[in-house]
């Protein structure tokens, strides 16, 4: 101990005349730029997927019904629920912000909240108005900081050069590892389920992929969709358009994961996993059309033990999947496996039997307890522009059928396709393959009213078409199919489309007549729309049935105005394979309910 030790402490007194360092007004001090304060939610952006709820380790978030707030409605891709946060639970970790699929959930830098009533510490950000709603500062997920991978695992595909001269299937299917990685991206929110017409348990089967439990996955698939193998390849996958992951990244490849499950389970085991039919009931049902809708209903009803006969005008079952989709997208084998599986449930098939000619509706009505009309959309629409009656102006649907039927078509030197949908792409790409095979080079032009951003076709189809050297010219309004003096078709004359939709988003093209082009083509193929051929019903029945704007009027279960007749598939709700499956299911349920009702009455 020294004198220094006695005196040195007095240095402390130097602070006496310094200004104190206290914050003058601590009540209004702003927190830092990144501060994690109370939540904000852009409810318009939010889709109510509940991922925030799932990740919250405090159980602080509830997904609650929000009613009467503008912009929030339960609709495909938006559950209509919004997160409500309990500040008696929250720990401000911001995992909910980090995981938010739309970046709608953020945090303000407000931090002061004092209440006398402990029940008040709960609110729905963005809905219940708070003073920090418009605070700009606060925690937002930093760029690149993601808790789940935004990018889809690439599907192995044949390169354009490899695939363009054959009808070999393009897509290879995921490996187990790829599928696991892709399945891993799913946040299991289930927003997709309601969008899927047949409500496949998507999150559940994706988690089966994650777990590698493919048999469980297959069971889940076939419980809701007997066309799972086919849907795994060509489903219109509306689910993916609403996928929560699609808001900030690629949607989950739900279709490919479905396909992956069906590929991983050996076909021999399918039947055992799915389970066979119940004992026979003696009830008889006739189904017209062996497409997805008809066969789905057949599958359901046959499994219930009913006697099901399917009448198909063509030589093979599968309907549009068999005759409308090119083989490079859906090989015959897949269809056959699917059909065989359904038939194995005890369905009686009548091929090459056209109702209306080979057998009459009245006959079916008499012989069966119920009849299901699942006739699809087999009449192609035409533009009926001048010259459209030329013999080399085709309907896409007819051409496709001919190609898939194995007819040896001689491909034209050049061809113009009218239409921007998937059928247009299909025919363009099919004919391109034929051209490549027969002539070695491709000359297909595809024109459509819409601009590319609004094509009805799947973006992947467009991308692949371009890869396959299809010349896509968008925003062209067809005016005339031009023939030369010899009557030989030379091409399509078109005008530039200025705009295609009106302000109500209804189709109303306007043209720039000065911008006129002639697209050369020996063939012109129209792929603008399809309709049902209902002539098989006969005049009397047509007259008897109720119609709704050109389509058969059916109730939610596919029941027509006639008690014995149901309708399903594209002819009532289409065209879409998975909707067809869905209507098949609901018709089967409805028929079953009718049987039960009758039983109850008889008893």
């Amino acid at each position: 101990m020294s004198v220094r030790d006695l005196l040195s402490p007095f240095i402390a007194w130097k602070h006496l005349f310094r200004e104190p360092v206290s914050i003058r007004d601590p009540f209004n001090r702003e927190a830092s730029e990144r501060y994690r304060g109370f939540h904000q939610n852009d409810v318009e952006k939010c889709i109510g997927c509940g991922t925030c709820e799932a990740i919250c380790q405090n159980g602080a978030i509830d997904m609650v019904i929000v009613e009467g707030v503008e912009g929030i409605k339960t609709r495909p891709g938006d559950s209509g629920l919004r997160p409500r946060i309990d500040y008696g639970r929250c720990c401000w970790c911001a995992l909910c912000v980090d995981v938010c699929m739309t970046s709608s959930l953020t945090m303000s830098n407000a931090y002061k909240w004092v209440e006398n009533d402990p029940d008040k510490f709960r609110y729905i950000p963005g809905v219940d108005k708070k003073e920090w709603d418009n605070v700009k500062q606060g925690y937002h997920r930093p760029d690149g900081h993601r808790l789940n991978a935004p990018e889809r695992i690439e599907m192995p595909e044949l390169e354009p050069a490899e695939r363009i001269d054959s009808f070999v299937e393009i897509v290879g299917g995921y490996s187990v590892e790829q599928a696991r990685l892709e399945a891993d991206r799913c946040v299991t929110c289930g927003i997709c389920v309601a969008t899927c017409p047949t409500h496949m348990p998507i999150p559940e089967y994706i988690s089966a992929v994650r777990d590698g439990d493919y048999e469980r996955g297959l069971k889940l698939l076939y419980d809701s969709n007997p066309f799972s193998q086919i849907c795994g390849k060509v489903c219109t996958r509306r689910c993916e358009t609403t996928c929560a992951a699609s808001h900030e990244g690629d949607p989950i490849a739900i279709r490919w994961l479905k396909r992956h499950i069906t590929e991983q389970v050996p076909y021999e085991k399918y039947r055992d996993i799915i389970g066979g039919p119940l004992p026979a009931t003696g009830k008889k049902i006739a189904i017209i059309g062996a497409g997805p809708a008809g066969m789905t209903a057949a599958f359901d009803l046959a499994r219930k033990g009913h006697e099901v006969s399917v009448y198909e005008a063509r030589s093979h079952a599968g309907g549009m999947t068999r005759y409308g989709i090119p083989e490079y997208r859906l090989p015959f084998e897949t269809i056959q496996r699917e059909i065989d599986l359904i038939v194995s449930m005890g369905v009686e098939m009548h091929y090459d039997t056209r109702v209306g000619t080979d057998i009459q509706m009245q006959q079916l009505q008499q012989d069966n307890d119920a009849v299901l009309l699942a006739i699809g959309l087999w009449l192609g629409r035409g533009t009926r522009i001048p010259g459209a009656d030329h013999p080399h102006v085709y309907k896409a649907i007819d051409l496709l059928r001919r190609i898939r039927d194995g007819e040896q078509l001689e491909a034209p030197k050049s061809m113009v396709v009218i239409g921007g949908g998937n059928v247009a792409m299909d025919i363009a790409r099919s004919v391109a393959r034929l051209q490549k095979q027969q002539q070695g080079e491709i000359n297909v032009t595809l024109t459509a009213l819409e601009d590319k951003a609004h094509f009805l076709a799947d973006p992947v189809e467009i991308k692949e078409s371009i890869e396959e050297e299809i010349n896509i010219i968008d925003s062209r309004g067809p005016q005339e199919c031009v023939s030369d003096d010899q009557g030989k078709l030379v091409g399509l004359r078109s005008w530039k489309v200025l705009s295609i939709f009106d302000d109500q988003h209804r189709f109303a093209p306007t043209y720039d007549e000065s911008d006129e082009q002639l697209h050369p083509g020996e063939w012109i193929v129209e792929a603008i729309g399809q309709m049902s051929d209902v002539s098989l019903l006969g005049d009397a029945l047509t007259e008897k049935l109720e119609w709704d704007r050109g389509r058969l009027q059916v109730d939610d279960d596919g029941h027509t105005s006639e008690p014995w007749l149901w309708a399903a598939g594209d002819c009532v709700k289409g065209p879409d394979i998975v909707s067809a499956v869905a209507t098949g299911h609901s018709v089967a349920t409805s028929i079953e309910a009718m049987f039960e009702q009758k039983e109850a009455q008889n008893a």
Partner: protein, 395 residues
């Protein structure tokens, strides 16, 4: 049946007779006084208590009682997914939460086979050193306060608060930063962070100068602290002593040097040691260690890569599963070796997490040993000098 078996039925041995039978205190004799320090007691570090048996002014026996802050973290983590554990681990040690975040993240990364980006390592080291400074500043205030010199606590808490401001702008929170998550760190340094950090460091250094003059060169402080709470270097291994307590006894063990993690192998420093192994020596070790952290932060900020990712790509955290395995991750926190023992079983949840904080041994076995024959007035000073944080003991 279970209840009966696990209920502590047999209390007939109380007060406990040690196996060697050295101390048999008869409270009814009137010779001894039972005195509880804590949990509601300003001289206790945090919410814990010491049950003192005193004879006159002298402690003849001291038993630590913990569990007032027990929240069952290790159990709670077993029912939280790997990412959900991330916000909760920092709560295990309130004054220096980042170590939990780091150890947990590193353990998960090791078992999951994740490699984190280079820049994340630097930022992590930066945060850990900032946390160390905070913890030491708090300690210095506490140590002086325990001997009745309140003004030191005022200064150091102010300096700590400035550091909390840096924390806030970097991590978005003051106390529980929740910034180091498995895979990296949340975000890059904000704009202009270096300059503001430098200002803060200078303020910390100025404060430390004042503290040195008023606390370390203080006759009365020396009178109280020198010679108090001597820890025999031979006890260091026996009692599992780590950190400044061990270094104060001259045992130069510093995990940062012995088993370098993050970027410590690229930094220039030497473990700080003392000799006398008393309260004063430990305080001095911590003071110098604090200054070393200031230096380390400067090194980190100057050597840190300017560009680069701060976060590795994680699998989807909502169903992140980690294969079966076990590991132990340790780091040098301000109080000694901090470690996480993580066992996974291939599911999406940890099988078992064991948090090994330095206070566990320091505040229990060691304190109970050191406290014997200490004046009541020195109990607080002694406890503080072990720098224990109760929440990490009972978790």
């Amino acid at each position: 049946m279970a209840d009966a078996e696990f209920g502590k039925a047999d209390r007939s041995q109380y007060p406990h007779r040690r196996p060697d039978g050295s101390l048999d205190i008869d409270l009814t004799s009137g010779k001894y006084l039972k005195l509880w320090q804590g949990p509601n007691h300003p001289g206790i570090t945090g919410n814990m208590s010491v049950e003192l048996t005193v004879c006159g002014d002298e402690v003849v026996e001291g038993k630590t009682h913990v569990g007032y802050l027990h929240r069952g973290f290790e159990k709670l983590m077993e029912r939280r997914t790997f990412i959900q554990c991330f916000p909760i681990v920092c709560r295990i040690c309130v004054p220096e939460p980042d170590f939990n975040e780091y150890c947990y993240a590193a353990a998960v990364e090791e078992l999951a086979g994740l490699e984190i980006p280079e820049k994340a390592k630097w930022i992590r080291a930066l945060i850990l050193e900032m946390g160390r400074i905070n913890s030491y500043l708090m300690y210095l205030g506490g140590q002086a306060g325990a001997f009745g010199q309140g003004v030191i606590g005022q200064w150091t808490t102010y300096a700590r608060d400035l550091m909390l401001d840096r924390f806030e702008e970097l991590t978005g929170a003051r106390i529980y930063h929740m910034f180091i998550l498995p895979g990296g760190v949340r975000d890059d340094l904000p704009e202009g962070f270096d300059e503001r950090m430098e200002q803060t460091l200078q303020e910390v250094e100025r404060t430390l100068d004042d503290v040195y003059d008023t606390m370390f060169r203080n006759a009365v402080f020396k009178k109280r602290a020198v010679g108090l709470g001597y820890v025999d270097p031979a006890l260091v291994d026996e009692y599992g002593i780590t950190g400044p307590v061990a270094r104060g006894a001259g045992v130069a063990r510093d995990v940062r040097k012995d088993q370098p993690y993050l970027v410590y192998d690229q930094l220039d420093f030497e473990p700080v040691t003392g000799r006398e192994s008393d309260v004063y020596a430990r305080a001095d070790v911590r003071r110098r260690d604090l200054l070393m952290s200031v230096d380390l932060i400067r090194q980190i900020l100057s050597k840190m890569p300017h560009k680069g990712e701060v976060m590795a790509t994680l699998p989807n955290v909502l169903h992140w599963k980690i294969p079966r395995g076990e590991t132990y991750i340790r780091g040098e926190c301000s109080r000694g070796e901090y470690g996480y023992y993580l066992v996974t079983d291939g599911s999406g949840y940890p099988r078992r997490v064991n948090v090994r904080g330095p206070s566990y041994t320091h505040a229990m076995a060691l304190l109970e040993k050191l406290i014997v024959n200490v004046n009541i007035s020195d109990v607080a000073g002694l406890m503080v000098s072990l720098h224990t944080y109760p929440p990490e003991i009972e978790r």
